[in-house]
């Protein structure tokens, strides 16, 4: 088990390394070569003189060869900004002021702030949205999926298939706008946009309920389908018949014997979806004016804020890698076949 964990963590670190390299190449040399965009020029403001650009280049360390820049990017990601960079970028300011400007993910071009602080400002919104939505879609989809599997081809099952089709085919921005129009604008049950921090739980829930529900419906559709098919498979297993032959009641057979096996692939999918969503649910966040990571990424991309965009990409990638490792761990706990192989 410990060896399994170490192997997975080493693998994860390798993936993150590859991602940093890809991000660095894409947002550095490729951007410059393909679109002739120089970060120094972007940073230097409107219509800079060549001298200004050169000064900014030196300030940001962009005058050094790419391999030196990449080496430093990696080092900064792990250890934080070096004293040399601190002295270069924010000479004469206090450590706290400099921390606002410099971070592991670099500094934003658009704002005089570190990408780290931007991410940490916006991440709670995405985190809240994701967890509320995840809770909703599990509570909706798993019971529906199980009941559909117990009574295949019943009216309930057919209705749920229609629901799945609608949920999967309605684009989230369209459905989101419809929901906003009816429930927020016409009926006034929910606010039109915005987010309140968790320190005020009532307001927090009030602002998140509608976007989380729209997001949840889309995922619920997929989860109904996978729960139903997994349960159908599991219910025809020999050990389910054994459980019935022991005299176990239907509820016990379904929950303790069948679902306990059927949920293993659902857990896997759930973990990966969480990892993906935590990197920012762009469409929902933009539709509902929630300033989460997805919203921040759109803003940064529009303003050609290269470090922020790259930082969010890297941050999301790390989340997905972590989610993968967590999924493997949870699966190993739930399934002795993985743990004992």
């Amino acid at each position: 088990m410990i060896r399994f964990l170490i192997r997975r963590i080493l693998g994860g670190i390798f993936v993150v390394l590859v991602v940093t390299l890809a991000v660095f190449v894409l947002f550095g040399p490729v951007l410059r070569w393909h679109s002739n965009i120089s970060p120094a020029r972007l940073y230097a403001g409107k219509n800079p003189s060549p001298e200004q650009i050169e000064r900014v280049s030196a300030l940001l360390g962009l005058d050094k060869p790419y391999y030196v820049q990449y080496g430093y990017t990696l080092k900064r990601l792990v250890l934080g900004p070096s004293q040399e960079e601190r002295d270069r970028v924010c000479p004469g300011s206090t450590a706290a002021e400099c921390d606002q400007l410099l971070g592991r993910f670099g500094s934003s071009f658009a704002k005089q702030r570190s990408v780290d602080s931007l991410i940490w400002d916006h991440f709670p919104v995405t985190l809240s949205l994701t967890f509320l939505a995840a809770l909703m879609w599990l509570l909706i989809s798993i019971p529906i999926g199980i009941i559909s599997a117990i009574r295949p081809r019943s009216i309930f099952d057919r209705t749920s298939i229609v629901f799945v089709l609608i949920g999967q085919s309605l684009p989230v921005y369209y459905f989101g706008l419809l929901a906003l129009y009816f429930f927020a604008y016409r009926l006034g049950w929910f606010p039109l946009s915005g987010y309140e921090p968790l320190s005020n739980p009532g307001q927090w829930l009030y602002h998140l309920l509608l976007p989380a529900f729209v997001l949840a419906l889309q995922f619920a559709a997929i989860y109904v389908r996978i729960t139903r098919s997994q349960m159908l498979d599991t219910l025809s297993e020999d050990y389910v018949r054994t459980a019935r032959a022991k005299g176990a009641g239907e509820t016990r057979v379904i929950i303790r014997h069948a679902f306990r096996n059927a949920m293993l692939p659902i857990v896997t999918m759930f973990g990966l979806d969480l990892g993906l969503l935590l990197g920012g649910a762009i469409l929902i966040e933009v539709t509902f004016g929630l300033q989460g990571l997805g919203w921040l990424a759109v803003q940064a991309a529009q303003r050609l804020d290269v470090p922020t965009t790259a930082g969010i990409v890297l941050f999301s990638a790390i989340l997905i890698v972590v989610a993968n490792i967590v999924v493997d761990l949870v699966n190993a706990t739930l399934d002795p076949r993985i743990r004992l192989e």
Partner: protein, 336 residues
């Protein structure tokens, strides 16, 4: 007194192509302490019959006729009444031990559940019974095995666990559906030996379903030979081997390996069992039977009638003389 009495059992599956009569008018009975073997090819209705008795068939199946456990009629019982009997008064062992245990539950958890579903005992007490049950089926260090998952045990050990689980609540009826088929030959022998030992201890009526006449000879008191959903011959084991009466039984006996050491090829019955969707008229074995006459291919099918030797009965139009002669030829060969 018969512990299990089945009368005119009909089990029909509803399918997209029409009803399939998997069991078609089967009657049999087993006394406490006795073992009844049910023999036949795959698809002859052996398993459908045992699942009918246990009430484990899917909702697409209808079961008619009469199944009595002691005095109690099982057909028509509600789901929860049947559930209380299953695993308590009647228990079942399945064919494939590799897939019959829940892979994500520890052995102990599955055994304790079996006890506590039917007995109001503490967890500790249930645990003790489970450990004792494992010990009784010859599982070494049962305390440790309680913590194992099924995948940590071999097929033979898993089948022992299944047997232990079936016997935990001292059932009056035990149905074993091909309990050794999925195991390798040496393990088969061990499981058969275990079942022979347990036979005398548990004092339950046992229905042993198999396609292997060798297993029947080892374990059973009586045999019913099934073909295409019907019983074609019924006798004590000794009687069946000494005076086999039905052409299908002759085919089965002739197919036993090791009989004809001189010839290298195994005997096989030509053809395949009929479709139960549209079974042939008359005797269902007639299309494959080397002795078939015109009367065999017309309704009504021959009924099970006594051969005059004890409880033995056969469903065949051949005259007693022909049957005795052909049967004697076959068992004569066996002795030679």
């Amino acid at each position: 007194m018969a512990l299990l009495t089945v009368e005119n059992l009909r089990t029909t599956f509803r399918t997209d192509d029409g009803p399939v009569g998997a069991v078609d008018g089967v009657s049999l009975s087993v006394d406490a302490g006795k073992v009844l073997g049910i023999v036949g090819e795959s698809g002859c209705g052996k398993s459908a019959m045992s699942l009918s008795i246990m009430g484990l068939l899917p909702k697409t199946a209808t079961v008619e006729g009469s199944i009595r456990l002691g005095e109690r009629e099982l057909i028509g019982l509600s789901g929860s009444e049947l559930r209380r009997l299953r695993g308590d008064d009647m228990a079942m062992i399945f064919q494939d031990p590799m897939t019959s245990l829940n892979p994500v539950m520890r052995i102990g958890e599955q055994l304790i559940e079996a006890v506590r579903l039917h007995q109001k005992v503490s967890k500790v007490e249930a645990r003790q019974r489970a450990v004792a049950g494992l010990a009784a089926v010859g599982i070494p260090s049962p305390e440790d095995r309680m913590r194992s998952y099924p995948l940590e045990l071999s097929g033979g050990m898993r089948q022992r666990v299944m047997i232990a689980m079936a016997l935990l609540n001292r059932p009056r009826l035990l149905i074993a559906d091909e309990p050794t088929t999925a195991l390798d030959v040496t393990t088969q022998a061990q499981i058969l030996e275990l079942m022979r030992d347990l036979r005398s201890e548990v004092d339950a009526a046992i229905v042993l379903i198999t396609h292997d006449l060798g297993v029947v000879a080892e374990l059973c008191d009586e045999v019913a030979v099934m073909y295409a959903g019907r019983i074609v011959e019924r006798a004590t084991v000794d009687e069946l081997f000494a005076h086999p009466q039905h052409p299908y039984t002759w085919g089965l006996l002739a197919s036993l390996p090791g009989r004809n050491l001189a010839s290298e090829r195994l005997h096989q019955i030509p053809g395949t069992p009929p479709s139960l969707l549209r079974p042939p008229a008359g005797c269902r074995f007639a299309p494959r039977c080397p002795f078939a006459m015109d009367v065999c291919r017309a309704d009504p099918a021959p009924a099970l009638t006594s051969t005059g030797r004890g409880s033995a009965a056969v469903a065949c139009h051949l005259t007693q003389d022909v049957r005795d002669r052909e049967g004697a030829r076959l068992s004569g060969e066996e002795q030679a």
